[in-house]
Amino acid sequence: MKKSCALIIEDDFDLASIFAGALRLAEYEVEILQDGRLALERLAAIVPDVVVLDLHLPHISGKDVLHHIRADRRLADTRVMLATADPLLADSLREEADLVLIKPISFTQMRDLAARLRPRDVFSR
């Protein structure tokens, strides 16, 4: 079975590491980026199954990255999990995101949710 691909866009090193640990445990291949601009460059090259997206990012905001993903037909199947500490901002983006997670997000929470997103991919393919 081909491993699913997850892109974590998060500038906090610890959180990124923990999310990565959780996603790996949920059988994802994980890539971490800490900058909005780098994320957009990378997204031009790959099509991840899941994107874990922080909203407060250097250079280009998570909100812009989200808009970009939703505007790119190539990334139509990519699931986006917003991870933010700002519930108001999160609410405003609820329609565009597949999942909205309010920080703090625990390791197990992330692992379970990521695992929940995976099976549909498997069956829908």
Partner: protein
């Protein structure tokens, strides 16, 4: 009243003088009569002449005329008659008359009387005889002489004198009075005058007495009024003195200003304190109203003060605070409050005002404002600090928890039992620390009234997932059961604040776990009625005594200090839950039995928006 009195006095004086004059005249008459009485001795002689006349053989008619003439002249009478008794006719006939209207033809008819009237007792002036003669003479008073033997009588009437004259009777041997002379004088007028005078005098005296009494009463009343007026004046003076003392003793400056019809101001009264207040002499202010606004009011405040004067001219009471520059250059703050009044009798209005020195109050106010600004700044800094502390404490704690979980879940390979055990202890302590930090920050936020309720759709299942992800580890550490369930009929999404619902749940469950040693904690979400939904957290812990339910929701309180030590905690959890539930429009209820366990139930309304969303 004095005029009346004077008038009355004049009236009596006049009356008295008139009566006096009358009396004087009467007295003069009397004197004259006395004189005439002396003259009447002459009359006596005349009467003797009559006797002689009667005895002589000379015809009465011959000498009668001449004789009567002499009588008229001597006695100064207007009429005289010589009567002769005619025994055959038994009556008098007039032999000669003089002064009667028809002289010579005597109409003088002597009364017809029986002779005994004339002779029986001829010396007496019997009233009947006198009346007859009076009638015969046609005069009220007359002089008469009678010679019984000769049967001659002489009447002289209309004497003007009113003196009663009489000559002693001359009696003969047979004690028969042969002659008598009497003058009867009517003094009735004098009597009447005297009586009138007497009456007038009496009346006068009575009226004088009455008037005197009245005057005495009036005088007394006047004295009383005078005394009353003096008393009132004294009271007024004392009152004014007291008022002056009060005004002088109070430290405020009091003024009374007149605003004339054309809008000019004039000081009518100023309390002496204005000198102490400003340092300028009193007279300067009294002489010139504008000295205050133009010289004493601080230049920067003059515009506002003149606006106040205009408002007063426009009938507005006013109260304002401004600065004064004292004579020595010192600047003080005053409050000037003026009340405008119109006394109704003059076209001008009056302003009654008080000027108080409020320099000290202003200083305190400024200090307070400064302190308040500092406090506000300090509070702002505190909030800022709180926000950064919140972030700085929570972020590393969350990272620690994340890494521990990673290790536990074997991301880096399988671990030895001791390693897992140690990680569990790290996990539990970090989790407790996180709850504690969160509670402290929540409490600070609640105290600062900075709790924002952000309402949005919340799935009860998500709430429970999040709860388990943080609480499971604490339950497992104490080997307790932690279960949760959602009743049928609870909407998939509830409209509420996700963050604060999470905090409520975490606090209720961590509190339950803390006080439970055996058994476990069950979380149940249900809908008690169509209009509400509820969370019930039931434990099998030590329970809460009845008397504690009153303060169990107070901040920093725990039921038993010995328990607090055993269970370590801030005592904030339930207090925060209560306050959050209140803020979100819900209710919290506690049922508990000591030794068996407790159940906390939090109920929220299912609002219209949520129902509309289905």
């Amino acid at each position: 009243m004095a005029d009346n009195l004077e008038g009355e006095r004049d009236f009596y004086r006049q009356q008295y003088s008139e009566l006096g004059m009358r009396l004087l005249r009467l007295q003069e008459d009397e004197t004259r009569a006395r004189r005439e009485a002396r003259r009447s001795r002459t009359t006596t002689r005349l009467i003797r002449d009559i006797y002689q006349l009667a005895d002589s053989n000379i015809s009465l008619e011959d000498i009668g005329q001449q004789f009567l003439q002499i009588i008229l002249e001597t006695l100064v009478v207007s009429r005289a008659a010589l009567l002769q008794y005619v025994p055959a006719q038994q009556r008098f006939v007039a032999r000669q008359t003089l002064g009667f209207p028809t002289a010579g033809q005597p109409d003088f008819v002597p009364p017809e009387l029986p002779p005994e009237y004339y002779f029986a007792n001829s010396n007496s002036a019997s009233s009947a005889l006198l009346d007859c003669l009076r009638q015969a003479a046609g005069a009220p008073y007359f002089l008469w002489a009678f010679n019984a033997r000769a049967g001659l009588a002489l009447l002289a009437a209309n004497l003007v004198e009113d003196q009663h004259l009489h000559r002693p009777f001359e009696a003969n041997d047979q004690e028969i009075i042969e002659s008598a002379l009497g003058v009867f004088i009517d003094i009735s007028e004098r009597k009447r005058a005297e009586e009138a005078l007497q009456r007038v005098n009496e009346e006068l005296e009575s009226r004088v007495a009455t008037r005197t009494a009245e005057l005495t009463a009036a005088n007394e009343q006047l004295q009383n009024e005078l005394a009353e007026r003096r008393r009132v004046e004294e009271a007024l003076r004392q009152s004014e003195e007291r008022f002056r003392e009060v005004i002088t003793s109070i430290s405020d400056h009091i003024y009374m200003t007149e605003i004339t019809g054309d809008g000019r101001h004039r000081n009518l009264y100023l309390s002496p304190h204005v000198e102490f207040l400003t340092g300028y002499p009193y007279d300067k202010f009294l002489a010139d109203w504008s000295f205050w606004p133009l010289q004493v009011i601080h230049p920067d405040d003059r515009l506002a003060a003149s606006a106040q004067a205009r408002r007063q001219a426009g009938w507005q009471n006013s109260e304002m605070e401004y600065r004064l520059v004292r004579a020595n250059g010192e600047v003080i703050w005053v409050r000037d409050s003026g009340r405008v009044q119109w006394d109704g009798s003059r076209p001008s209005k009056m302003v009654y005002g008080v000027v108080s020195d409020i320099t000290e109050r202003k200083r305190v106010e400024e200090e307070l404002a400064r302190t308040r600004d500092q406090a506000l700044e300090a509070n702002r800094l505190k909030s800022q600090l709180l926000a950064s502390v919140s972030h700085d404490l929570r972020t590393p704690l969350n990272a620690i928890l994340g890494y521990v979980e990673m290790l536990q879940q074997g991301v880096y390979g399988a671990l030895a039992l001791e390693q897992l055990h140690t990680l569990a202890r790290i996990m539990i302590n970090a989790e407790q620390l996180l709850i504690f930090v969160n509670n402290l920050l929540d409490q600070a936020q609640i105290e600062a009234a900075r709790v924002a309720i952000n309402v949005g759709p919340v799935a009860p299942a998500d709430l429970l997932d999040t709860l388990h992800s943080t609480m499971n580890v604490l339950a497992e550490a104490k080997d307790l059961r932690l279960t949760s369930s959602i009743a049928a009929g609870v909407p998939k999404e509830i409209y509420s604040d996700r963050h604060w619902l999470g905090r409520i749940l975490v606090n209720l469950v961590s509190n339950a776990l803390k006080f439970t040693e055996k058994g476990g904690v069950d979380v149940y979400i249900y809908s008690p009625d169509p209009a509400s939904w509820a969370i019930r957290v039931t434990d099998t812990g030590c329970g809460i005594p009845d008397d504690a339910s009153a303060y169990i929701f107070d901040a920093f309180r725990q039921v038993d200090s010995s328990l607090t030590r055993a269970h370590s905690g801030s005592g904030l959890g339930l207090s925060i839950v209560k306050q959050l539930v209140d803020l979100m429009g819900g209710q919290i209820a506690l049922t508990s039995q000591v030794g068996t366990g407790s159940a906390f139930t939090v109920t929220f309304p299912l609002n219209a928006v949520q129902e509309a969303l289905g």
